[in-house]
Symmetry: C2
């Protein structure tokens, strides 16, 4: 009889085993994909599909796994923020706004149109259209980070556009949901919009200045690794604040990182320390995406067809919408931005969960959207690698970059 195993709090043996399986599967798949010269993230997501309920069933989605996944993506965006100077983002503000706006209108119209053609009702079509609007920047950020390309001009546009896109998506979601429930509550929608915009502008504008001022004081604190500890607090704090304001946690984490991007330049360990936490947690985020896939809803042929159609529309509408908005920058840059904006994530899941709750969306449609989320996150990385090939080889031929790329990019190609 194993006493520790039977009474240890939180069934920690089983949970630690789950984490071990997820981590090992992710890293094995990453190694295989790197050797095949494919992006590691694709391997890690597919590892999740493999060990998840649809195939092997070794692990199943749980609150614990979701929480670790959430902390993982929060740290990833914090890390990306640390490598993004506010002024660089402001410089691309016009392009980013344009990309965000067209990248919302085109997918909404196409998603709505597809569902109407498929024979769906008006409200259901509006929900699927809304589910297609918001980019999940985590996957793209991870790919560009691993390639050491977060400083590329198009990377800045993608990051800026993703922030604006998330806020616009939130406002759209408020409108759609409140109209479905009956009368549109304009005051509530306006409050949500103002709060989200004010939060982002406020942190974006005064964050860096405040942190540059606070930096020397933080380093004088008595606790060990005070700057790192302060960074962790700011990251968690702004993530929670973002959620309570109504935008995604990763927007708060990104803003926190960006606010510290200048102050942390004098603290070389900071990047290395947050990278270490990120490296430990991001695999749970990636594997968890794959684990969401429920293949059982695809026993019905028409569901399969719809899933493929929705995925194609999700991809094409972002490529075209964002690409058109960025067409002034040249074809390749426009394609980089379009593809970079195409992965979808938790926002879609939130939209369809609200739809499920309101009875507008059924389980099959929920499965379709989850399929689209996994598919778009799988398709973007290899395309990005291909579209950024010139930058990758330019870097490899001696272009040195910011200190914390850690030479990882040369391991990818």
């Amino acid at each position: 009889m194993n006493f520790f195993l039977s009474v240890t709090p939180a069934h920690s043996a089983k949970m630690l085993l789950t984490l071990l399986i997820m981590f090992v599967a992710a890293k094995l798949a990453a190694e295989i994909f790197e050797r095949l010269r494919q992006p590691a993230v694709v391997g890690e997501i597919l590892a999740g599909v493999l060990i998840g309920g649809s195939v092997l069933g070794w692990v199943e989605p749980s609150d614990l796994v979701s929480l670790l996944a959430e902390i993982g993506i929060v740290f990833l965006l914090f890390n990306v923020g640390l490598e993004t100077k506010p002024r660089d983002l402001l410089r691309v503000g016009k392009h980013a706004s344009f990309v965000a706006i067209l990248g919302i209108i085109v997918p909404f119209v196409c998603g709505y149109g597809l569902m109407r053609l498929w024979g769906a009702g008006n409200i259901q079509s509006v929900f699927i259209g809304t589910a297609l609007v918001a980019t999940s920047v985590g996957i793209t950020a991870r790919v560009l980070q691993r390639l050491g390309l977060l400083n590329a001009p198009t990377a800045k546009i993608i990051l800026g556009a993703a922030v604006i896109d998330d806020i616009l998506g939130l406002i759209m979601l408020s409108i759609v949901s409140s109209s479905t429930e009956g009368a549109i509550n304009y005051l509530e929608i306006a409050t949500t919009a103002v709060l989200a915009i004010a939060f982002t502008l406020f942190i974006g504008s005064i964050g860096a200045k405040t942190m540059n001022f606070l930096g020397p004081h933080i380093e004088r604190l008595k606790i060990g690794d005070s700057f790192f500890v302060f960074g962790l607090i700011l990251c968690l704090g702004l993530s929670v604040a973002a959620l309570y304001v109504g935008v995604a946690a990763i927007i708060g984490a990104f803003l926190a990182g960006m606010a510290l991007s200048e102050a942390s330049e004098d603290v070389p360990d900071m990047h290395r320390q947050t990278s270490a936490v990120t490296e430990f947690l991001v695999p749970f985020f990636l594997v968890n995406i794959g684990m969401q896939l429920q293949l059982s809803v695809f026993r019905d042929t028409s569901t399969v067809i719809l899933a493929v159609l929705v995925t194609v529309v999700a991809l094409l509408s972002k490529w075209i919408g964002c690409g058109l908005a960025a067409s002034g920058l040249g074809t390749r840059a426009a394609a980089q931005i379009g593809v970079g904006m195409s992965p979808r994530g938790e926002f879609c899941v939130v939209v369809v969960q609200i739809g499920l709750f309101l009875g507008v969306i059924d389980n099959a449609l929920y499965g379709v959207v989850l399929f689209m989320v996994v598919a778009t996150t799988l398709i973007a990385p290899p395309l990005l690698k291909w579209l950024y090939a010139p930058e990758i080889s330019a870097k490899r031929d001696g272009g040195s970059d910011i200190g914390d790329a850690d030479g990882e990019y040369c391991m990818i190609g």
Copy 2:
């Protein structure tokens, strides 16, 4: 209406808020205690008491928090293992064994005696005696790590004794539980004992050699930070294996760290990366200890008296037992070892949970043991700091040490 907040998976907003509160409370308390020249760990545990259910009630124990706490202590012991060479531990083997054995016999006899004098039955007294036997080395390891004193000879004896103590405690627990349930199953107990000892000896003896051989191969892997990733896998893997064999997860993590201690010397980033993960997660472990305290069972005066008595016996019996065993090393070394072995932890909780399950222990007695756990973890750190004062000032006066103490010790005293 806040949609993200209401439908985000795993209630991540609330969970992230809980983590934020725990982390901020821990670090604020740590800063205050450092300024008062008191050990930061005491502040972090007291922060848990303050925000826990007994006082402010801002956070409550949950599976999610326990899991993070568990990963935190696992990483802490992995980190400590990385700084411990197997040969150093072997060198103190005789002393460590002696300390472990007397450090089990004396607390068991004293705990049993106290309960009998208190009027408790035979089986109940055996359970409380058993609950007092096993040291939880996490607190001591954290204090010594922060002081930069993991290389002190007495630190090695404490670490070695804690490993042996955990195995002996496990065997005792098997005997006590199976005798309570009826006939003693000798075969089962023998299997448990042999498995636990074999696992520890096997990893302890061949671990380092295997890793020294594998090291160069691991660094040739394509994935980024391959050595760090491999370390994480070994740490999680041996923690899970330890739990399934029957010993505590931290023993597995410690052995994993020790196996990598030599191979990781050529990988300077490794220590820094695991330290970063540890710094993020350890506060959850410390705050979680404090959160366990349930002051409500202490409305009854006799329970309060018993709690104080059990705590005094728990402390004195380890000080005397382990101190006697180490008396040949001089008074101060013996005192360092006795105090270092006195914090109790999850083992006690496991014992009384089994007792609760078997109906031998009631809720009041459960509260008493939790009080003893929190009290012993609070009392040891300041005593350790005091007993190690000469080593601390010797270090401060220029004795440089292993690279990854990070100069933290000079922030403590």
